[in-house]
Symmetry: none
Subunit: 193 residues, 4 copies
DNA sequence: AATGAATGAGGATTCATTCAT
DNA sequence: GATGAATGAATCCTCATTCAT
């Protein structure tokens, strides 16, 4: 029973299905058929709405990054002071919403794909720049000239826990990872003072 | 003119070609044809020696991990004292031999594949366990009960810099990454004392 | 705002769009979507009016042939004497109305399609018969028994210049083609006398 | 039972099958599957040898043109004097080898395709130039300044009979067509003198 | 030891056509 | 009257893998 205004619904379903399949398989070796099936429609319809496979992937990636950015922003407005804001940034990545099997795995896959695809890289660069700038902004008052290095270290550490979470079996323990990152942050601040 | 004892030579050539291609492409989307061509032989021969494609990948992965393990061991025998040994472990990963475009990229790709393939995971687990055990062994005298967490943090940090290196454009700066890891190590040790 | 009596308008728009697209592409590899878009409507509506794609093509072909027949008739009523009537017939095909890029190209395409489609052939046969009969009627008083052969030759010559016009780049030169045909006609008449 | 040196055999079989299928269908709407089946092999093998569909078409076209050029050349060496040489040129196109159902139909199809495909056009241009130059060379001594126009007329006439042959049902009558072209030639020469 | 020959299976994409609104 | 929604069928092309030589 076809209805009007299906486009956004179908697109969202496809994006969700894409994240699910990519996360499940752990690579981009996912057929449009698998995605479409999971989204409950024919491959033809998937193509109708997205044109080509890489556009579906791109939309999924964009979705993940947007969700993440929104979550960071939401936490940041509530946080007072650099330390609290740094914690907000760190915790966002490891919050249950973000830090769940499929999403983490899909994230990692897209992350890797950025090596190849120009469009994927563009998206990733935006993410990386924003993360770095966020960290830097809060680290500056705490560490001064040492802030850039600390920011780099923190960013790498976050990515490191992410990749480990993606690879570990079972549900990843976000709290533990966040705790490690935060205590490293404390150590870095302590050492810098 | 076919010669005797070609097997090890052909296998090595294929492994090398695999790392090269996987590194170049940045994913496992590499055909047996590409690998065989780079290795200077027919696809049929590649199959003859490895049976199936995933065996080629596995051999390449094993090769990278073995090289890495050897390099660690070589550095460890020269190092005296926990700090020096930790530095040896860290520096190995970022040494020019290991930390070059193709290899890092291939490494990352295999790393991700571990999520899917049972055999790949087995290999990766060995690597992770060994790294963790190495770190732990040296951190214990310095940090006591805090060692496990520190080991986990360091391992994640190393992986994090690796992934960032794989994704960054141009030749990765191993020294800088090593320096960041080591100064984080110092901070952790300092904070733990 | 849907209006009454849209049918003829829509059909005409589709026919025109079909000739345009077929002429542009130079083959029948034209989708209903392209035609409908050029005609400013949805593919569903195109199907609504024509039932199936080949019916659209057929209608377009019929349109071209009808236009041509009308043009011939219009010129014939003004011409006096066999020579003048032959010239009228020849010139019609190369007149600006008929002899323009899109139309010539579409004509040729349909012409070729007659080889395959029964319906297309039926239309083409009508055209060919009429052309031949027209030519024959005027050639008879001039050439007597030699008329049938001359008619065949003239018909082939006209088609030949058509196909060349369709394939040549840029706007075809109808006057030059007509001149060649007419001087050949003169030569044939001269030779027959 | 795979043998060596199959490539030229397979390629020839595919070219022949392509001409057969294109001729049969009367358009380029021929699938690789049909061609491969007629040639007695899998589609994969067809792709293996030609890379892509249009390369198969191009090879078939090239084959037809080469055969034709060879046939012209063979007849020309035996002919003495302009008239005999003109007759040789004309008769070649309508000789049984060239002027048979499939080939004529395929020829026409490729001819039309030249409108679209750059590569096809390139081939056709060579053919047209060569035909024109051949005709011109022999017409010059007979007609002087009138030669270019006559050459154009003859070329168009040949194409015209070709297209008519392609569209007529049953086996085309090459002799009759040749006779018409030649008597037109005589008329043109007679008229020019 | 080595390879050209060959294919089955699979995947992205397109498109005519139908249907409910 | 008009269209967005939806799909099945078809088509090109790729690739891992096998086999005879």
């Amino acid at each position: 029973m076809p209805k009007l205004g299906m486009e956004p619904i179908r697109r969202a379903a496809l994006v969700k299905a894409t994240i699910g399949e990519v996360g499940r398989v752990g690579s981009l070796d996912v057929t449009v058929g698998q995605i479409a099936k999971r989204a409950g429609m024919s491959t033809a319809l998937a193509h109708h709405y997205f044109g080509a496979k890489d556009q579906i992937f791109l939309a999924a990636m964009r979705h993940i990054l947007t969700e993440y950015a929104d979550a960071v922003r939401a936490r940041l407005v509530l946080a007072r002071g650099p330390r609290a804001r740094l914690e907000a940034i760190v915790r966002t990545g490891f919050a249950p919403d973000q830090f769940q099997g499929d999403v983490v795995s899909a994230w990692l896959t897209f992350y890797v794909q950025a090596h190849t695809s120009v469009n994927a890289r563009r998206l990733m660069t935006v993410y990386q720049r924003r993360l770095r700038s966020n960290l830097l902004h809060e680290l500056r008052p705490l560490l001064g000239a040492g802030a850039p290095e600390a920011a780099e270290t923190l960013a790498a550490l976050i990515d490191g826990f992410y990749i480990r979470a993606a690879l570990g079996q079972g549900a990843p323990d976000g709290d533990a990872s966040a705790a490690r990152v935060l205590s490293t942050l404390e150590a870095l601040i302590g050492g810098g003072q």
